[in-house]
């Protein structure tokens, strides 16, 4: 499902409980980048704690490593486009500098943003 092009529409159709059971993390931001949904899986994997992030500014309070002018500019400029999507591979997140992340971002019709995060378990770090 993570790689499907229509994943944004599927996410919109799922309940919160169902999203919590997906094999990847999911975060939904409103048009002002405030967290409106933070999946249980992502809360645990990122080490941020359950649901405590809802209502907070994602780029400022939760993921400052993404809060670069260039990246925010890209997101701001593109999210209004109906076909906006972004895919990125990145190493290191807030909780674990060795975490290998595969991230997809999709805009919704109301300019909200779904962020899906797939983590490759870092067996070496666990070692």
């Amino acid at each position: 499902m993570f790689d499907r092009p229509d994943v944004a529409a599927i996410m919109e159709a799922l309940s919160c409980d169902e999203i919590d059971q997906l094999p990847f993390g999911a975060i939904k931001l409103d048009k002002d980048d405030r967290v409106v949904f933070y999946s249980k899986r992502e809360a645990i994997a990122s080490g941020m704690g359950e649901r405590g992030q809802v209502g907070r500014d994602f780029f400022k309070d939760i993921a400052p490593c993404f809060a670069t002018d260039e990246f925010l500019g890209l997101v701001a400029e593109a999210r209004s486009a109906p076909d906006f999507s972004m895919e990125l591979y990145k190493i290191g997140d807030f909780a674990d500098s060795e975490a290998e992340l595969h991230i997809r971002l999709f805009s919704t019709h109301d300019q909200a943003l779904w962020m899906l995060i797939e983590r490759e378990s870092d067996m070496v770090a666990a070692n």
């Binding site: 890209l74 999507s85 972004m86 190493i91 070496v124 070692n127």
Partner: protein
């Protein structure tokens, strides 16, 4: 019927048959010994000296493979029946022949034959044509020579085994002999206190002299019988040669001169002193025998750096000990066989064929090899190449640099049953800033490992009072598959788990500190750990752009071949990647506070970023898309590659950016440069 011809006619017929038949007609006695052979039979068998085979066991004149057939035919004849077989047997001159053999009993009385008639007919034409005979002849000659050699080798092996058993026996009684001598010495000393006459004192002097002589003899015997597995130590071969120079000159005699030549900065090797001395003496004795009269031997000691991996040597530092003589030299076919146990060119009783084999064995133990060059009539050069010891004393890091890579968040499990040694090593590690868990036995080590949050390195004695280092290694491998391990021991008699690092006791502190740092992956220019390689491998799977896959693949291959980070000079095909869309960052500053400076940047990268990069610095404040580039640089400083990728689709336009970054080491210790290669593309989505 033939009998009707009468006995005389029959006897004449038989004599004519024996005299003129081209077959090989033989009389064998009841016990299987050859008694007679017909004159034409001698011709057929190409026997020049009949005396050499008359009286021999008939079946032993046949090759091993045919003997069962011979024995079976004889057994048939012993039962009063006709025995027959076809078999291969070369003639006495070594020519291949196949024979049809018929064996009949003679002089049968009460079912027991006194003799046998054996008639062998040459039927080789049924097996080979003329053109194959020469080939077969050569094969038979080779086989005969090989058989001779094997018999000699077997005899030598039996002799060696007897010597080994004798050595073991001597070793076992030496201590008893020493006790006897000690008792005699005590008795002599007691008696000396009670006597007051000179004659008795003189007698006791003789006793004391005898005891002293006896002690010397037992010590020498002990040296001789000691198994050659002496403790491994860091050896400066120049010292070894200097110490033994007089003995070596004595060994070769006055007619031969020995010159010693030593190169600059020859590192030590890790080996058993007794073993290496034994090899040196053997090789010098070989040179002496090859010279045979007046001549010269040159012993050269040099450092050899191997940059490219080969079948025999991995890249690294080596010590090259060469023995150059102007003796008779050897033909290529002999050189090819040198190193085979028991192969010797010397006469029987003069050489065991174990000298050069022991050199090969030592080289293998020391991750090295033996090179041989020889020319008939000119001389021979034998190079013993041994891996340099990891004793870094000659290339030591400054204390500041060393302390900067120690400690941190690394936890070391230390297993040593000697309280004193455990405390000593533990203190050294703790003073370096490491967290140390100490265990005195295999069981306690395994228990500590299970309870620990994480372990980054195991240091264990190989021989423990309870359990062994290998046992600890085995258990920990299940839990920590990539855990680096260092083993310490006073001898190499114990089995070392494959591929692990060994440090001899007493452990040199500087060597221990550097080995620990190396095993923790903090000296990636010296050695990459399995964990570092695994992390970089995972990066490789994510790369999408073909160019980047190729570039990264080359870097990975170099890392795998070298076992460490390559230098810029070793990554010769890097330049085009940099020129197309890459950059090089030079690492400066200190390990704690590194400074990054662009030492090369392609026009494409500078254009994309909109500023010149060459000569500029990256600081913690510099950020690019996908977060701070300094995170990526910090990861590369640990010897691990980095990768990131971004693909953006909006309003029908697709933009992708991909980047790999990987470290290089020009100083052979740390990361000195970090290379970035990027790929931009933009198009309709």
């Amino acid at each position: 019927m033939w009998a009707e011809l009468g006995l005389q006619t029959m006897q004449e017929a038989l004599e004519a048959l024996i005299a003129h038949s081209p077959d090989c007609i033989k009389i064998i006695d009841h016990d299987g010994y050859l008694v007679k052979m017909s004159p034409k039979g001698q011709v057929a068998m190409e026997v020049n000296h009949l005396g050499a085979i008359i009286g021999a066991k008939w079946h032993e004149l046949w090759p091993m493979s045919t003997r069962p057939l011979v024995l079976k035919a004889l057994d048939e004849a012993r039962l009063g029946r006709h025995g027959a077989f076809r078999g291969f047997c070369p003639t006495a001159a070594g020519n291949p022949r196949w024979w049809q053999v018929d064996v009949s009993p003679l002089g049968v009385v009460e079912g027991r034959a006194s003799h046998f008639l054996a008639v062998s007919r040459d039927i080789s034409h049924l097996y080979v044509d003329g053109s194959q005979v020469e080939t077969l002849r050569a094969m038979v000659a080779d086989l005969s020579a090989e058989r001779e050699r094997l018999l000699e080798a077997k005899a030598d092996e039996e002799h060696s085994e007897r010597l080994r058993l004798l050595g073991r026996f001597v070793g076992s009684i030496i201590h008893d002999l020493n006790n006897v001598l000690a008792a005699m010495q005590s008795a002599s000393s007691l008696l000396r206190r009670r006597i007051d006459d000179g004659v008795s004192a003189d007698i006791l002097d003789h006793v004391d002299q005898a005891v002293t002589y006896g002690s010397q003899l037992t010590r020498q015997l002990l040296d001789l019988s000691r198994r050659d597995e002496g403790s491994v130590e860091s050896l400066d071969l120049a010292d070894v040669l200097e110490r033994d120079a007089d003995l070596l000159r004595h060994l070769v005699g006055r007619a031969i001169t020995i010159d010693f030549c030593r190169g600059e900065e020859v590192p030590p090797v890790l080996a058993s002193s007794s073993r290496i001395r034994s090899v040196i003496f053997n090789l010098i004795a070989n040179s002496r025998d090859a010279i045979g009269g007046e001549g010269a031997i040159r012993i050269e000691l040099n450092r050899r750096t191997v940059a490219d991996p080969s079948e025999r040597l991995q890249p690294g530092e080596y010590v090259e000990l060469s023995f150059v003589d102007n003796g008779c030299g050897m033909p290529p076919e002999v050189v090819a066989r040198l190193g085979e146990p028991f192969f010797t060119t010397k006469g029987r009783g003069k050489g065991t064929g174990l000298g050069l084999a022991s050199a090969f064995e030592l080289a293998e133990l020391c991750d090295g090899t033996v090179e041989i060059e020889s020319q008939l009539g000119v001389g021979t050069t034998i190079r013993l190449i041994l891996a340099a010891s990891a004793a870094y004393t000659q290339y030591a890091l400054s204390d500041n640099r060393l302390s900067s890579i120690q400690g941190g968040d690394a936890t070391i499990l230390l297993v040593e049953d000697s309280d004193m040694l455990r405390q000593h090593i533990g203190e050294k590690l703790k003073s370096g800033g490491y967290t140390v868990l100490e265990a005195i036995s295999a069981k306690s080590a395994i228990a500590l490992a299970v309870g620990a949050a994480s372990i980054d390195l195991l240091i264990s004695d190989l021989q423990l009072d309870q359990g062994s280092g290998a046992e600890v290694a085995r258990e920990l491998r299940n839990r920590y598959p990539l855990l680096p391990m260092i083993f310490v021991s006073g001898s190499v008699g114990e089995a070392l788990p494959e591929g692990e690092i060994f440090l001899p006791k007493p452990v040199d502190t500087n060597l221990l500190n550097l080995t620990v740092a190396e095993q923790l992956g903090r000296l990636p220019g010296k050695r990459l750990t399995s964990a570092q390689r695994a992390r970089s491998d995972r990066v490789e799977r994510r790369i999408k752009a073909k160019d980047l896959i190729l570039c990264f693949g080359e870097w990975r291959s170099l890392c795998n071949d070298l076992g460490r980070l390559p230098s810029q000079g070793e990554f010769t095909s890097l330049k085009p990647y940099i020129e197309r869309s890459g950059y090089v960052v030079e690492v400066g500053g200190t390990t704690a506070v590194p400074v990054f400076k662009f030492s090369a940047a392609s026009e494409a990268v500078e254009t994309k970023l909109g500023r010149p990069l060459l000569g500029t610095y990256i600081t913690a404040r510099d950020e690019e898309s996908l977060g701070s580039v300094t995170d990526a640089l910090q990861r590369c400083l640990k010897g691990i590659a980095y990768h990131d990728y971004l693909a953006l689709n909006a309003r029908g336009v697709s933009t992708t950016f991909e980047r790999i970054m990987f470290p290089l080491s020009d100083d052979g210790w740390f990361v000195t440069h970090i290379v970035g290669v990027t790929k931009f593309s933009e198009g309709k989505g």
